[in-house]
Symmetry: C3
Subunit: 467 residues, 3 copies
């Protein structure tokens, strides 16, 4: 069924006109759409001075900016440095990892502001944005970064932009179904970001299956320094994940609680990752792939429940389990996925975002179903699940059911969307590299000559030595 | 007119007494001056407990610390990691890039606290400092970091300290003229930081022209890993620029707005940079130099207008244009500046800070001139431009005129100051390297031997192998 | 007295069962203890909604989360990226530096939450945690990271976990004696974190003395890129140290003041470090070891006094002195400590944390003793030193005496605890490496082959080239 693709089509990777054209046209479209639709929200508008009086606010500190901006910046670092550097582990794909992540995220956040704006912040024909919208746009792009991990090294920048366009759109639809129609809680995005992003990306890479990828097997590994660069990404994701999961929670105790739960879950996850990394290797040595990735699974898996009363020990349990599941996945599942199901998952996103995302959805459903007024307090209970208006009568167990439904919807959207987008990306017009040129920056980037021997006696062909 | 300098003067780079002497004497001077002049501002002084009652503040959260400290830390990262690592792209000048930037910035912030303090925070013979002063000191040093980019690799640490001393002084004067005399708005420093810093640095490097610099041409390039280190700098500048442009804006909506505008401008800038980087290269490949630098031009160019009602789509337009201008500058203008005007601009600051800074000044003038009470609201209008006291009757169009005058003043100060400082730095007493030793850490740093072949069979000459 | 250890015991470093067992059992113990003891504090609990009414708080912004979370995140970065990358300077121990630091810190913060909780946040049989507890847990682990610096490259991950278990315990006891029994001020931890951590680690490394360590001398140096990685750690420690020293100070002016004092001290420290680094080397060249470490001594040395009215110029003086002391220590003291006292201090923590920590304790004692109601204001004076309740009548000079006693207690705890823990770690069951294998990742990590020559013609032994 699969056939060798792009035999001898290295010429096809020529980006000179296609990439600029897409970048410029799409950015022009962004400008027009922003011009028509996007305006400052009330707290960012110069009219806020008057708004404050109306809302009876006595201090500027009540501006949402001060509640959320520090978390926003942490999330921003996670998207650009976190995901970007996490993927630099490949020996010769560091430029592509950081650079293409930069490109797709910069485009994605603009498109996400529009898509999410139409669904969530649309008033009188305008999208009104504030710091919470910036966070949500970063979140949405986070799910694209996840999917990028599966196809890292095998796609052209144009394919990535096309994928971003579609994935952001589908993300916004899925998010709307979950948050607005199912009234599901998912502040840290176990379902909307990780489950959706991972299974979307896995489906795309399945459709783009390259049977002869072992031709570039020598470039699929890391080198000593590239593993250290990747650790920069890992650590920033790990450290700032409490900000990620708490960034858009309700002001006050919910943000506070989400940060604590995530902190605990991540700490536990490191220990079980180390344990299984050593245990599953004959020589008992630790594997950087696990440390770089599986240590983060605990953050993914409390994405839904972090703002709930999961409690610190509940978080430890979730982190404990996810470090194991994720590491075992890297050792046993990833090879099987490739050999049996033809899913080539460069970064192992199934282990870092897929399974932990599902666990996160399930933990969220259980935690919601187990909620009681006793644990949350009367007011806290209503506030935590927003059981107001038409949801006034919803019970925790019903909420748990809807949460579970949210997982299913996210999976279905991911599979359907991934299949569609994979099919589009399979068209032979996007300039992706031949199998033997995958995982190689040289195709799309000006790469400096190596530093080794020639650093000091390099010859510049353009300038002959003066006589 | 120009003559080969420092022929065979490699010995001259001996720093052992000159550098320590300057560092110790100047730091001692700082201590004395701080002792005479610098005290805690009211919000950092232990008397604040009583001050609070007088000011009728009910909560500690009203302390300016909580409004600005997160932004301050982001700015701090930009100055030390952002600028420092951005300049590590050179293959053998990473220590100098990060280390000298560290040195000049650490000195510069102290001197800036004094200089800016005398102009702006001087009360009853004392300079009263708080978090806003720390931000302003970092800003001031930012303009020195910009100028450093032009002369990177060609100057001794002493020259850098001398330049910092003068440039900080001139910065404070220029800032005083703009903010206090012309009553110009420039919260993100398009004029005071970027335009001034860039043209100052370009003038200095012009005066220090080295006709035989191609002798070290082999060291002016990057290597694979040095380009990745530089991307750390790029990304931190890019991610935290919204904090930079909003750090000293008015509390509330102005800070909020400035962050949003900058976020938008930077996102657009990435796409046009990628487009033109690919388009202007025969093979259509992306160039790391452009990605590392031109993607930031959008942040520079909204430095003046970010806190105004530029609107998100206005920001996108500015970013769109600046990505193009900056990238085109790298490809076509930088070589011409060197060959025709003898301006050797190591990092291309003309493309990243010069032209975008000018654009930023112009955009700010236009945005100010176009302001209306309708757009800002009656109170917001007055607050945004501080049209109070003796400026009560100033109109937007007059404000626009003064903004434009601010650009001209900054340029004149930069040219005059740069010429003066360049002339001082040209004195043959500062220990700069010979042309063939430029861009080489080995001159001023203990450099470890390379890791390659000898990593495991290195010989220690001091300790013969035990028999 | 000392004997060559572990002769030919390279096999012993096999971690496969020991490391997983410890990680899993200890994490399971954490879960049980958290389950029994740890609950959300009132500001992170869903009942806060009701609590707010009782406490008459009108705004969510009064939640401690908003006062401390940005500082917490900065501290978090210091522990994981700061300390982790600072130690990557070794040419072949980058994985161990970042990875083991990650492991011990992730375990340590959990155990610290419990230990510190029992001493400080124990109410009705429960430990109630909030953001301040997270910061304190990070602080506690900071002292373990300090001690790790002394034994870096010479211990197995199991030894590190054992050391963490004991050191965190002793830290909590010492902290309780200082803060609760002696009523000492030490917000930035000059005594509790740095003095204790450093002399604890030095005692441990003394007990673990390896007489034949010169066998791995070739691996004790840096390479060009590893020095740049280390600078990432240095700069993040340097930039975020103002957050470290202000993170748990009283709301308002104390936090504000602590940040300013630290900023000033660190700036001065950079200049004197550079001066002495150049002066103490025959060729006058700067040494990366000093820049990476001694520049931070100024932050250590204002750890106790930063929140007091040390004043900016007082801070400059402290930083001035500590840059000198620390650099001189690296050049003259470290070799003597090794040759005479058999203290092998890999990172030179005695120069960065030991002496500056002692200085910090002394400066704190003096600053406290010199405090007057005139300088602090009547209310500020009481608030700054918490002269309430049973301490109502304590005078500044008495406080100074207790501060000095705190130094002595910290030292005694460090020596006694270090000797005990060193003796435990000397047991030949923990899998540490032979002398010739120290400073080598290969023992405990899967290390990728080097990138040099073989990057493109690597052979995969599992898959013979298809015929």
């Amino acid at each position: 069924m699969e056939r060798p693709r792009h035999q001898g089509m290295a010429r096809n990777t020529y980006m000179r006109w296609r990439l600029p054209l897409i970048c410029l046209l799409w950015e022009a479209a962004m400008i027009i759409l922003f011009g028509v639709f996007v305006r400052f929200g009330p707290e960012a508008d110069a009219h806020w001075e008057e708004e404050k009086h109306k809302m009876n606010l006595t201090s500027d500190i009540e501006n949402d900016f001060y509640f959320r901006y520090p978390s926003f910046q942490d999330v921003h670092v996670m998207i650009f440095v976190g995901f970007g550097f996490l993927m630099t582990f490949l020996r010769r794909y560091g430029f592509g990892a950081v650079g293409f992540n930069f490109l797709l995220a910069a485009f994605g956040i603009q498109w996400a502001l529009l898509m999410q704006g139409w669904f969530h912040s649309f008033q009188n024909g305008k999208i009104l944005i504030g710091v919470e919208n910036l966070i949500n746009a970063d979140f949405c792009v986070g799910s694209v970064c996840v999917a990028f991990g599966a196809i890292l090294g095998k796609t052209s920048p144009i394919q990535l932009l096309v994928m971003t366009l579609f994935q952001v759109t589908l993300f916004a639809v899925n998010e709307y179904i979950l948050l607005n129609l199912l009234h599901v809680k998912d502040a840290g995005g176990s379902m909307t970001i990780h489950t959706f992003g991972a299974y979307f990306g896995l489906t795309v890479t399945r459709v783009l299956y390259r049977p002869n990828l072992e031709q570039s097997k020598d470039k699929q590994g890391s080198v000593y320094h590239s593993d250290l660069f990747a650790m920069i990404g890992t650590l920033y994701l790990w450290m700032y994940w409490p900000s990620f999961n708490s960034a858009i929670s309700e002001h006050g105790d919910a943000q506070h609680r989400a940060a604590i739960n995530t902190y605990c879950s991540l700490a536990a996850c490191v220990l079980t990752t180390m344990a299984f990394s050593s245990m599953l290797q004959k020589k008992g040595k630790l594997d950087m792939v696990h440390i770089q990735n599986a240590t983060l699974a605990g953050g993914v898996a409390v994405g839904t429940s972090a703002e709930m009363m999961l409690t610190p020990y509940g978080s430890l349990i979730v982190g404990f389990i996810c470090g194991i599941v994720s590491t075992v996945g890297y050792v046993y599942l990833t090879p099987v996925l490739e050999s049996r199901l033809h899913i080539q998952d460069t970064c192992g996103i199934h282990n870092l975002h897929g399974m932990p995302g599902l666990i996160g959805g399930i933990v969220g459903a259980i935690t919601a179903a187990a909620a009681t007024e006793d644990v949350y307090g009367k007011e806290g209970f209503i506030k935590a699940f927003d059981f107001t208006g038409s949801y006034k009568t919803r019970t925790p167990s019903v909420q748990g059911g809807f949460q579970a439904a949210g997982i299913v919807v996210s999976l279905l959207m991911a599979f359907a969307g991934g299949a569609l987008v994979g099919a589009i990306l399979k068209l032979p017009i996007w300039g992706d590299a031949a199998d033997e040129n995958c995982f190689e920056d040289d195709i799309y980037w000006e790469v400096p000559e190596d530093e080794e021997s020639d650093a000091y006696h390099m010859h510049n062909p353009d300038k002959p030595a003066s006589p």
